[in-house]
């Protein structure tokens, strides 16, 4: 029996296009691994699509979210948060219950979660949390910002053009001109969305126009970039704060032209209970030089963005020129890519336990950083003017 159990709050769902994926990630592997270890009390916190917070232990079972759970929630009381030198959860009412949270495990993909918003809240609450902090999360959420930051540090990225909705509406000719200088075919992407939502490959002007329209349906900022022909797509999950541990380089063996939402989450998800792995080659069968480049750029990207805990770096490789480009960074890989970690020798239990240890280490480090200092400036405000 373990009497020293830490209380972990797993936060999932949320106001995001990836709300449902987040529920899967939270359970497979996070909650199930935490419970399997026997070392944690798990408090599931579910945020609805409209932003309401609920928590009950039955939510630890993913079965709760099959069927009409939204109707069940209407009768539930919302959980309240208290920032009291740490995070406390309050279930109000006649028999009010308060639970103190030792560490938070964010499992929210996309907006309000993976984009750094949730991390900001948790920093305010002064509670340790797993994964990347607000800064890395916010940059990685913006595909353009990511390219700008890492290319400034010498990490190769595919040539691209970006613009906002008003840029496109007001100065279309300038942007069309810039786009025409890229090497076609092109990819059009909304800048902030994950899970390949709203992404299209275009071969001509007509397709380009439609794709941009779709991208602006999801986002205010769009990215148009060259597509790599003779493409090998690979991805590399990385874990750590200062010392990094790499998982296996994984090559999604997608059937469609690019790795879209269906490939990632639906077609490969029947048996594995997590993100796509039946269509993956782990480790990717690429030559040693490419492996070394992927590892080098992976680690560099992770450090340049200031990632901590866990992240996954996606790469595009031109199999003829052997050029390797970093495509994007995911600060909360779907299902933590635990299928890959398992092949790299890290079990689900070891993965979540290590991530929680990393969260505590970062918290401890940050506690030793001084954010305030004493000054007498307030006393002087409004005082007699000195000559």
């Amino acid at each position: 029996m373990n009497n020293n159990k830490k209380t972990v709050a797993v936060i999932f769902g949320g106001r995001s296009a990836e709300h449902d994926i987040s529920i899967i990630t939270a359970h497979t592997p996070i909650i199930e691994s935490l419970l399997a270890s026997g070392n944690f009390d798990v408090v599931p916190i579910y945020i609805t699509k409209d932003g309401s917070w609920y928590s009950e232990s039955a939510m630890n079972n993913i079965a709760y979210f099959r069927g009409e759970y939204a109707e069940r929630l209407v009768t539930q009381k919302k959980v309240h948060l208290l920032f009291d030198n740490g995070l406390k959860l309050i279930w109000p009412g006649f028999r009010q219950k308060i639970v103190s949270i030792d560490v938070v495990f964010p499992a929210m993909h996309g907006t309000y979660g993976e984009d750094g918003s949730l991390m900001g809240l948790l920093r305010m609450a002064n509670v340790p949390f797993v994964g990347c902090d607000i800064f890395a999360s916010a940059v990685a959420m913006d595909k353009v910002l990511t390219k700008q930051v890492i290319s400034a540090e010498g990490v190769p990225v595919v040539p691209y053009v970006w613009f906002t909705r008003s840029d496109w509406e007001n100065e279309q000719t300038i942007w069309r001109d810039a786009i025409s200088k890229l090497h076609w075919p092109l990819f059009v992407k909304p800048v902030h969305l994950g899970s390949s939502i709203g992404i299209a490959k275009v071969k001509n002007e007509k397709e380009l126009e439609q794709a941009i329209e779709v991208a602006f349906h999801y986002d205010n900022k769009a990215l148009v970039e060259e597509s790599i022909e003779n493409l090998i797509e690979v991805t590399l999950p990385i874990m750590g704060n200062d010392e990094l541990r790499l998982a296996e380089i994984e090559r999604p063996m997608n059937k469609s032209e690019f790795f879209d939402f269906n490939d990632k989450y639906i077609s490969g998800n029947k048996k594995s209970g997590g993100v796509n792995n039946q269509y993956s080659e782990i480790p990717a069968n690429i030559n040693r030089d490419l492996v070394e480049k992927v590892k080098e750029f992976g680690k560099k990207t992770y450090r340049v963005l200031g990632c901590e805990g866990i992240a996954r770096i996606d790469f595009l490789i031109d199999s003829q020129s052997k050029n390797v480009y970093v495509n994007e960074v995911n600060t909360l890989p779907g299902s933590l890519y635990h299928h890959n970690w398992r092949k790299a020798g890290v079990s689900g239990v070891e993965l979540v336990t290590k991530l929680i240890t990393l969260a505590f280490k970062r918290f401890e480090r940050d506690q030793n950083t001084t954010y305030t200092f004493s000054s007498d400036i307030l006393r002087k405000v409004g005082g007699p003017k000195k000559n």
Partner: protein, 476 residues
């Protein structure tokens, strides 16, 4: 307290009928289970009641009984003055569930005595008559463990040169065998029977029905010890086969210490060293299978099987020898042995997408089988090994000793992770581990389901997971 009050739960009658059904309507097993139940609302864990005709009749009868009890209780209030009336009323209400749990046996026993047994006797008689006329060589296999493995190996080997038939599954009771005999066409050359032993006299009764030409005794150990009381009685029951056979050939497993005590010089011993005149050379086993050479002056059989573990060598050798006895060629025997492979839930290897190798040994629940499997695990180097078990059932008075021994073996084998399911016996495995300076990790789960759910999160590529034994509800 829970035990007492759960009898008043509306589910109580359903639970009683389920317990009867899960005990295969064996009165002794049902009564023994009754004494162990802590909460009558929670007996259906692994399986659920199947509403058969028999179950429905029992449900209706038991409900009617309870109705009569409550009627009688109410009548007391009217028939007798206060306080006698209320005392009798309370007493009947209080005791009615306890009476009911035994009263439910009355229609069952009546049915068994007056309907089922005469029919069974008739069926067995018909089967015996059919077998008497059947020209096939009959082989009877008795033993506390290893009967099904022996049957499957023999069947696979002998099929290479003969037309062989054997009851499938675990049909080793007179009724199961009678049903099988019904399906015989008459042109079979070899019939193989498992002889199930539950109580003294069982083997003799089956021998009289089958009249075997060749016998095999696979071993004696603590399996079903709760029914036999002691190992001596178990051994005597199993050796009823030897008594019946007289001078006909009887193969006896010399790897098993208990059996060796009873074996005589007339018996043919088989084991890891070989059988009779066939010697074993160069034995080797790993996750891909087992290999060895069977040699005699003129015979040289190279054996390669997918069965895992050196403990199979004895049975494979015995099958080869029986093959020779029945006139199979050396080539046919070698071909047959090469076709032997793990069968369902008996050290059956499976590899999943993540590269985790699971050895499903959930039908192996006897101490000798467990020892053999731990030996096999010990021989696997460079792998992280998980041993998952709820322990063994029906070990009677030797419960603690047997499980501590398992712990000791696991510690000596250097197993990395031992996953135990919380129940009345696994604490002794942990004790055995601790007493023998176990260096690995012990993980506890409240039930088998929780352990199975946790496994994918504990394992990585290359790990070997052994699932040892499975408990059904009546042992929980």
């Amino acid at each position: 307290m829970k035990r007492f009050f759960s009898r008043y739960h509306p589910r109580f009658i359903r639970s009683l009928v389920y317990m009867l059904q899960a005990s295969e309507y064996n009165v002794r097993d049902y009564v023994a289970w009754l004494s162990r139940v802590e909460d009558f609302t929670l007996v259906e864990k692994r399986r659920h009641i199947v509403i058969t005709k028999k179950a429905r009749i029992l449900l209706v009868t038991a409900s009617a009984c309870l109705f009569v009890f409550y009627g009688a209780a109410s009548a007391m209030l009217f028939l007798f003055e206060f306080p006698k009336g209320i005392i009798l009323f309370s007493a009947i209400i209080l005791f009615s569930p306890i009476i009911l749990q035994y009263a439910i046996l009355v229609p069952l026993v009546l049915f068994q005595v007056f309907v089922q047994r005469p029919i069974t006797r008739q069926k067995i008689k018909r089967a015996r008559q059919k077998l008497e006329k059947h020209p096939a060589i009959k082989i009877g296999i008795a033993g506390s463990f290893g009967k099904t493995s022996m049957r499957e190996i023999l069947k696979t080997v002998l099929t290479e040169g003969k037309k062989v038939a054997a009851p499938g599954g675990s049909h080793n009771t007179p009724l199961g065998i009678a049903a099988f005999v019904d399906t015989l066409k008459g042109d079979e050359e070899v019939l193989i029977f498992e002889l199930g032993e539950y109580y003294p006299g069982d083997i003799t009764a089956l021998c009289k029905m089958i009249d075997p030409d060749i016998g095999i005794i696979t071993g004696v150990n603590e399996a079903h010890l709760e029914k036999f009381g002691d190992l001596h009685t178990t051994a005597k029951t199993i050796f009823e086969l030897a008594d019946y056979l007289g001078h006909r050939p009887l193969y006896v497993n010399s790897d098993n210490e208990e059996v060796k005590k009873f074996a005589s010089k007339d018996h043919i011993l088989y084991g890891r060293d070989g059988v009779d005149h066939l010697a074993v050379e160069n034995p080797h086993t790993d996750l891909s299978g087992t290999s060895f050479v069977l040699t005699q002056e003129l015979v040289h059989i190279k054996v390669q099987t997918k069965l895992l573990g050196l403990h199979h060598i004895g049975a494979l050798s015995a099958a080869a020898d029986i093959g020779i006895r029945l006139g199979l060629t050396v080539e046919e025997i070698a071909r047959g042995l090469a076709k032997t492979a793990p069968f369902d839930h008996r050290l059956e290897p499976k590899i999943d997408q993540s590269g985790v190798i699971t050895l499903d040994d959930s039908y192996n629940g006897n101490p000798d089988g467990v020892a053999a499997v731990i030996d096999f695990l010990a021989s696997l180097s460079g792998k992280r090994r998980f041993y998952v078990t709820p322990g063994l059932v029906e070990m009677g008075a030797r419960k603690e000793e047997v499980h501590r021994e398992i712990g000791k073996r696991l510690a000596f084998a250097g197993i990395e992770k031992v996953i135990l399911v919380r129940n009345s016996v696994t604490q002794y495995i942990e004790k055995g581990l601790r007493e023998n300076n176990f260096q690995g990790e012990v993980l506890w789960y409240n039930d088998a389901l929780a352990a199975f759910t946790a496994l994918p999160y504990l394992t990585v590529k290359g790990d070997v997971v052994l699932l040892q034994n499975d408990w059904t509800d009546q042992y929980a």
